[in-house]
Symmetry: C2
Subunit: 364 residues, 2 copies
């Protein structure tokens, strides 16, 4: 069992901060946050979109969040420069988002209603929790530059955060993700990811669960097993080791899209064995290096996150996997999701999944 | 009955071009396209995404399409500068897209299969049709600058295109839309829109149809009637006249989002009476002016399109309406759809629908 060290402290407005480390470390949580942050910012509400049968969060407080602030709030605090992280150094730091889309209330709220009444305007508190996960105290680094041990530590922290968030009672689904690149609007360049604890099962996840249920009913088999078996025989496999396989799927929709599956079934990160985490790290770093090498001099903007089974209904049909997608579609060119994709859900892949996979396969 | 004049001609690679006008005009279709375009470019295939139960188009040929070419291909052809429009002037011109996501084959193909077999990789030809709709021969204009009569002509052309595309047999749903603004990747600034004739019912439309079916079964009422009644009592109504109402919906997801409904039920543009088209034009121009005035000096980038009922199953639950959305979320700021929205479908509205509607209401 790989040791995971954790300390928990508080920020000036009451938000929790957690320090995770591979090395035993003591005392980081004892550093006080000396800022005057005023009242804590809470999320707003979720509203039911009856036309789409989906929840939408309304979070007007987020409009005040920083746009590339001068001082980086994710760096360790130094004399005269106080940040979101009071300690003078850290390996991985996690803290509640100051401008949350979900949560931030005094007490955990309820999950989103699953039965909707006849009234036309249905709303509920935007329960849940939003966290920031800082991958390193080195501002100028990037996840792809970190060691496999650090990447594994990030995943272990994500797993423990998932367990903690599912234990709250106001989180239906946990999503651990990273947005990277100004091309997709990232406002802080310090290497970091985020965790959203949604008070509802997200719309995309409901689609996967429904598809897996239908497949089981029609064939008696597990949909994800069948997908992995089919994709592993394709020419779209980017990387593979004993425990993991990474491929661009047959019906990819993003110019670059890679699905990374553990070869055994786990519902979420909390079930992932240590050896899977340890073997994920080098495979994922290899994938990130391929992404950055695809168009030399242009690090790939990407969105990457873990699909995890929700805690509630149909959890048995969920399957842990990572999805990495990019809008990069050529040198200096990005794909914009315009009317067909954004309004109708009609996606067009301009490169072709095989050509896109070939670029990543040949990038190193 | 407002007269609609139309002439049909051909481009050098066999694509159809149509000239629509309010004024009787003859002879535009007689101008020959003198370019050497080589072989016609056809769309590729659609692939079935089993995880999402959706079709995705794979159209590698589109990678060659122009990125802000030096000479505008939508201007009328002039001596020495040959464009996509051979005539020396026009009111509204429509032609098949040279780099189509759907169609372009020698013969109309089949609709997408509605029954999916057990094989893991299911594909079909990307049947259908993609058209470009040029709103004016004035390159430096914009839809918002045109007369109500011209806007009505555009809608009449869209209605006739919808009828023609539904008559082909390889189009399940017609989507008439406009993308405007470099912020959303528009490569040609000449005022124009597009029409996609999909060989399948789009995923968003299936959601609306399912929701309307459920609502009918649960309440006996029409979902859209109930939405219009509820929204018309809200403080999110932007504009209204005898035939139309425009509002930001209760559960809006885009920073700016306006739904424009005819007050009576029509399945698609082909059913829209003349007086509705005539009264749509000034209301829509008022809405566009409000959008452009919201942040002075920053014309709003937007995506705007007509939701139309598909031709096949559940057509009776569809309802014609226009949706206009924008990623603008403040002066010089746009919303990026990052991991939560793009990967999980978890939307967060940063402004709040009421605040967003208030900006548009107060903009003029």
């Amino acid at each position: 069992m790989t040791p995971l060290h954790m300390e928990s402290g508080s920020l000036a407005d009451g938000r929790q901060i957690l320090y995770y480390s591979n090395e035993p470390a003591g005392g980081r949580a004892a550093y006080a946050d000396k800022r005057d942050l005023g009242e804590r910012v809470s999320a707003g509400e979720i509203r039911y979109d009856r036309l789409r049968d989906e929840w939408v969060a309304v979070s007007a407080g987020r409009s005040g969040r920083p746009q590339l602030p001068v001082a980086c709030p994710l760096c360790p605090s130094r004399d005269g420069e106080l940040t979101e992280v009071p300690a003078p150094d850290y390996e991985v730091a996690v803290f509640e988002n100051r401008f949350p889309s979900f949560g931030g209330f005094a007490e955990p709220g309820p999950l989103a209603p699953t039965e909707i009444g006849p009234e036309m305007e249905v709303a509920a508190p935007a329960s849940g929790r939003c966290e920031v996960v800082v991958f390193s105290d080195d501002h100028d680094s990037s996840l792809v530059d970190l060691s496999p041990e650090r990447v594994a530590l990030v995943v272990r922290a994500q797993a423990q955060r998932t367990a903690d968030l599912y234990a709250r009672g106001d989180v239906a689904q946990v999503f651990c993700f990273e947005n990277r690149g100004v091309e997709i609007g990232v406002t802080l360049h310090h290497p970091h990811g985020q965790i959203y604890g949604y008070p509802y099962t997200t719309p995309q996840t409901r689609k996967y669960l429904d598809a897996a249920k239908r497949h089981k009913a029609a064939t008696g088999r597990d949909l994800f097993d069948d997908i992995i078996a089919s994709e592993s025989r394709s020419d779209r496999v980017i990387a593979e080791n004993d425990h993991w396989i990474a491929f661009t799927p047959f019906a990819a929709r993003w110019p670059f899209e890679v699905q990374v599956y553990p070869k055994a079934r786990f519902a979420d990160l909390t079930e992932l064995p240590d050896e899977y985490i340890d073997s994920f790290a080098p495979l994922y770093l290899d994938l990130l290096k391929r992404c950055d090498a695809a168009y030399p001099g242009e690090p790939m903007p990407y969105m990457s996150g873990w699909h995890q089974a929700p805690i509630g209904a149909d959890r048995e049909f969920g399957r842990l996997r990572l999805e990495l997608v990019s809008i990069r579609r050529g040198p200096g060119r990005v794909k914009f999701l315009a009317s067909s994709e954004s309004v109708m859900g009609g996606w067009v892949h301009d490169l072709g999944p095989e050509a896109s996979a070939a670029i990543l396969k040949g990038a190193l």
